[in-house]
Every structure is written in C-alpha cells, then in structure tokens.
Symmetry: C2
Subunit: 363 residues, 2 copies
Amino acid sequence: MDTRLGEYVDEFTRRDWQTLDPDAVDEPVRIALVGLGWFSREWALPGIERSAFTEATVVTDIDADAVDEVASETDLTGVTPEAFRAGEVAGEYDAVYVATPNATHLEYVEAAAEQGKAVLCEKPMEASADRAESLVEVCADAGVPLMVGYRMQTDPVVRRLRDLLDAGFVGDPVHVHATMSQTMLGELTGDPDQWRLDPDLSGGCALMDIGIYPLNTTRFVLDADPVAVSGTTRTEHEAFAGVDEHADFRLEFPDGVAAMCTVSQNAAHASRLEITGTEGRLILDPAFYEREERELAVERGGVRMDVEVDPVHQVEEEFAYFGHHLLTDTPIYPDGRHALIDSRVLEAIYESAETGEVVQLTE
Amino acid sequence: MDTRLGEYVDEFTRRDWQTLDPDAVDEPVRIALVGLGWFSREWALPGIERSAFTEATVVTDIDADAVDEVASETDLTGVTPEAFRAGEVAGEYDAVYVATPNATHLEYVEAAAEQGKAVLCEKPMEASADRAESLVEVCADAGVPLMVGYRMQTDPVVRRLRDLLDAGFVGDPVHVHATMSQTMLGELTGDPDQWRLDPDLSGGCALMDIGIYPLNTTRFVLDADPVAVSGTTRTEHEAFAGVDEHADFRLEFPDGVAAMCTVSQNAAHASRLEITGTEGRLILDPAFYEREERELAVERGGVRMDVEVDPVHQVEEEFAYFGHHLLTDTPIYPDGRHALIDSRVLEAIYESAETGEVVQLTE
C-alpha cells in the first residue's frame, strides 16, 4: 500500500524545529510583555499561555489603566514602563516581548539587553533602518538572543510551502504575486493602533505595517533576499495625511524572479501569496492574517490539491519556537540580522516611491 | 418576493449589445479567414459557424496544404495568398479575419481595405506601434470598419465584471493583479506558432502574445488607459533567445490605480485577474484562455459569491458581435484606435525593460 500521502498528511503540521518534549518542560521561559495593544492582549498573551515553553509573568504599557486591567484579570505583575526599564521586577522574567509602536522598540530592547534578557521584538523591528541596526547591535553587544516576530515563519502551512519550493516541486520560481489589505480605520476604530497614522511613531503605514508580510514571507519561502526594488505609495483619504495609505512594490530576487506586491490600509480585505514556477504553482489564500484559516493550493502537471488544515494558533507557534530555542540554547532563525534586511528593503521602497527609480540593493 | 437575484442570474449571459434577432438573419456576414494556425482552425472557424451573424466562405494561408485540407473538409473556397490579395474571389466575402503572424497583418489588411472589406484583425494589431498605426490609417482611409480580436471583451462574464466595477460595487478600484502563463514549447510543440519565437514576425513573445490579455482586459474593465508603465523582461531558456520568455509589468491608471502583471511563455499554467477596491473585490480565475471555464468571485462586506457560468464559445461571441455590428451598421468598440493604445503601451513596456525607467504615456 502506498502510504506516501498518508505520511505527508500526518506530518503536515509537525514542528520540524522541535527537539524538546513539551511535557518535559518544568520551567518555561518567563515572558514580560511590553505594550498592551489589541494584538498583545488578543493574540500574544493567549499564545504565550498556550505554549508549553513559555509563560507570561509581567506586563507593562504607557497606559496604566490597561496594565491594571490585565494585571487584575490575571496573576501577572503589572508595572510602569519606568519601573520596567529600571529592572525593578527583572527577577520575574527571562525574556521580553516588545509590542509597542515601532519607534519605541529600541528603548525597551535597550532596557531588556541591559538586564541580560532575551528579546522577542515585533516587526518591523524599528521605525527606520538605522534604529533597527542599533537595536541589533544592542542585543549583540549584550550577548542576548534576539528574535523578530515573524509569525508566518513558524506557521506549519508556510513551512510546508517553503519545503515544497525547496524540493523543487514547482521547478524554478518565475513570478510571485502577493496582496494584503484591510480597512484599518473601519476595522480598528478607536484602537490605540492609530499610532500607525503618526509617521514619527510608525515610520510609515501601509508599507511598514502590512508590506512587511508579503516582503518577509516571500523572502522566507524563496530563501532569498531582494537585489533590487521599486515601489509607489499613495494617499487619498485625509486620515492618512503624512503616511502611505496604499502601496505597491516589485521585489527582484536573484535570477530575476519578480514578486509583485500590493498592500493597503484602506481597501477591502485581501490576503494572498501566489508563486508560479516553471512546473507548478503554490497558492496560499488566505495567507497573512493571524485570524485566518490559511489554505494552500498545490498545482503541478494538471493536478491541483487544496490543503485545508485545522489552524494552529499562530502566535502560540511563534512563542513556542522562541521559548523552545531559548531552553535548548539553539540559534533563532528570524533574528535581527534577518529582520534588518526587511528594514533596509522597506526604506529602499520608500526611496523608490520618492524618486521613481529602481533601487539596487546589491553592493 | 425578492426577484433581484433571480433577474440578475437570468440576465447574466445576455448579449447586452444585441439588437438584431439572430433568427431573423437571412444573409450573415461572409468571412474570409486569412491564416490557418491552430487558433483559426480550432476556434475561429467553429466560432464563425456557430454565430448566426457570420459564415465562413474563403480561406487562405501561405501553407497550401493547410488550405487544401480545410477546403476539402468544408465547402469553403481555398485560395493562395496572392490570389486573395489580388481580390480574385472578393465577391465571395464581406469581411476578412486576419490571424497571421503579427508582422504580416498589415499586408492582408491593406488588401482587404483596398477591396472595401470590413476587417477583424487579431491582436496585437501588428508587430510595432508604427505598423499598427498604419493599419488603422489604411482602414480609416478606405472607410472600412476595423475590429480587433479582443475575445475577452465580448465574454459575458467579463462584461458583468465590468458592469459591477462601473456600478461602484467594489468602491474605488485600488489595486489589480493579473497573471497569465503557459508552457508554450510544451503545449504547442511542432505548431506553426513557433513564429512567436521570431522577433521580426512577432515583435516580441511573452509580453506581445500574452501580456496583451492582462493589459487590454484591465483597460476594458476599468474603462481607463494607463498613464505610466514600467516593466522587466527576462529570457533563460535558449529556445527563447532573441525574445522575451518572461515579463512583468506595472500599469498605472488615472488616480494612481496600479495593475501588477506577470506573464510567461515558459511557466506553469496561470490565468487570473483580481481587482481590489475600497469596498470589495472581483476575481476572475481562470480568466484569460479561450478554453477555460471562467469563474467570477464577487466579494463585499463579508459576503462572497462564486459565479460559475456555462461557458459561452468565446470566439462565437466575438464573431457574433462583429457580424451583428456590421449588419446593423453600429460602431465597433474594440476598434483600431482602442487597439493602438495597447501597441503603444507594449512598446513602452519594452522600452522600460531596456532602460529601467518608468515611461510616462500622458502627453
């Protein structure tokens, strides 16, 4: 009997990176959460709790009410940002998750590094490539591990897509299309995420906040980095004055593979990654949002398979990976050096949008 | 009872352009076919015969065997290209369908115009914008109607998609993605279509032959023309030496609407058009090939409808439109002036691929 498909299906959601038995973990990595926006509360906190390798112990935010609320609902220690940075409860955590507005990541990472704590920093790593580079250096100098929160990279569906590409399932990749959009004002009205409209805090809007998904996920699955980029940004709605409401960009990877990407903070919901190769296609749709049940379509030689998977909790997987790798002292893949390339590419796309020119990234 | 959906469904495939009762047509437009490649034989001939407004009467090709074969299988008059151009059987047809290699369209259209015959010319209209312009002028000077063979424009699914956009169903269009690819060498081995590999005959390969579908269909459904374009072409396989095997391009429409397009003559089959607006999305997948059963997905406000339609014979619809409009003396929409814009845009994309610069099309 041919068991190949059976084995493939059974192993589809395996954690290919896991060497430590979750049941054998007595002392999970204790995490301090910095920043209590909706993603932290709705996704990161539950993700940390679900993961066998992590537990949340401390929370902080500039919004004292939010800290009180979370602390009173849980057994977490709530502190002010000042107390956190001063290390007043540093004995209560081993690692720090930073999910504040982009331009404030550095200050919290500096504090964590000074305290000798490992860091999981949200993406984009900072509001500019220069600040992102400082952030990487701070962690390197302090000798603390730094992971960047690319939750797509630890999603098993995305990892299987990458495996297929790596195994040559579609031949040589030729073209990539990626689109991701949402109605930020409509979906998130009244939410503290409105800091994304402040260029000083965010460093940009559609491209910084959303563009990083098509960019990083394409890099991850192709296992390659762009060599040239071009792009355009556009703002029509007055709420987006000073930042980019819509953006499109083209990433050129080695061998001329082109990724055509569009993102928007003010368009109907879209979420799709599509790779066409010389011999087949791989389509992830929906692709990028944490709340979506990702579906993978696999096409080759007239055969199409649609793979629907019981969704993992994407942020649990991310924190499990982080905790697991700290406990096993294993190098982390989406690290600062990896994330720094995104910061530079995003900056190059903004530059291209200003000048109308292609920006070469090879030196 | 709410009959809105019922009426919509019932009228979905209606010919919104048809004013003449097909059953009332005694004398359909008699068509001479020039060029007997696989598309002419497999699609155009049956399309002409199926349409109540047209009938095929004459065939010609530089391949005398092909002419003999078709003439012996049917009751059509087969003639040599020389005899055709000399008008030897001009009394047997009212209109001429030109489906020869791109760079030879002009000579046959000149003959047809001289004979006072209406013309349906395959797309791209010619191998260069200059020759395309001459072709348009030849017809204008002779006062003969000229239609260009954009079979997507008379497909009811495409027309309904256009209606929805026009009615504001998705709000303002924001981004378009289009992809179309095939393995030309594999799918068409031994076929006379290999003239597409000869730049003198074709004027280009992936972009000219395939790129025109995303380009023209996007123009048609948005009812707008690009104001700026950029693009890249690439050739890896030796069989494509001298022409473009792969291409990607960005079309910028008025108001900054961006269409991101990829095409290939040597990649896995893909065929998709996707429009994201401020309030919804319209997705045609498969979209572009004559043999596909087009499916339209309509998304707005959390509702998604998938529309599958009994496929029309796309080339029947095209010839029915052509014949109908000649019989009723009605202006033809995809005319030479319309097609000339595609020729200029394609040339601008090739220029951009050479220079790496964006080419502005507004003057």
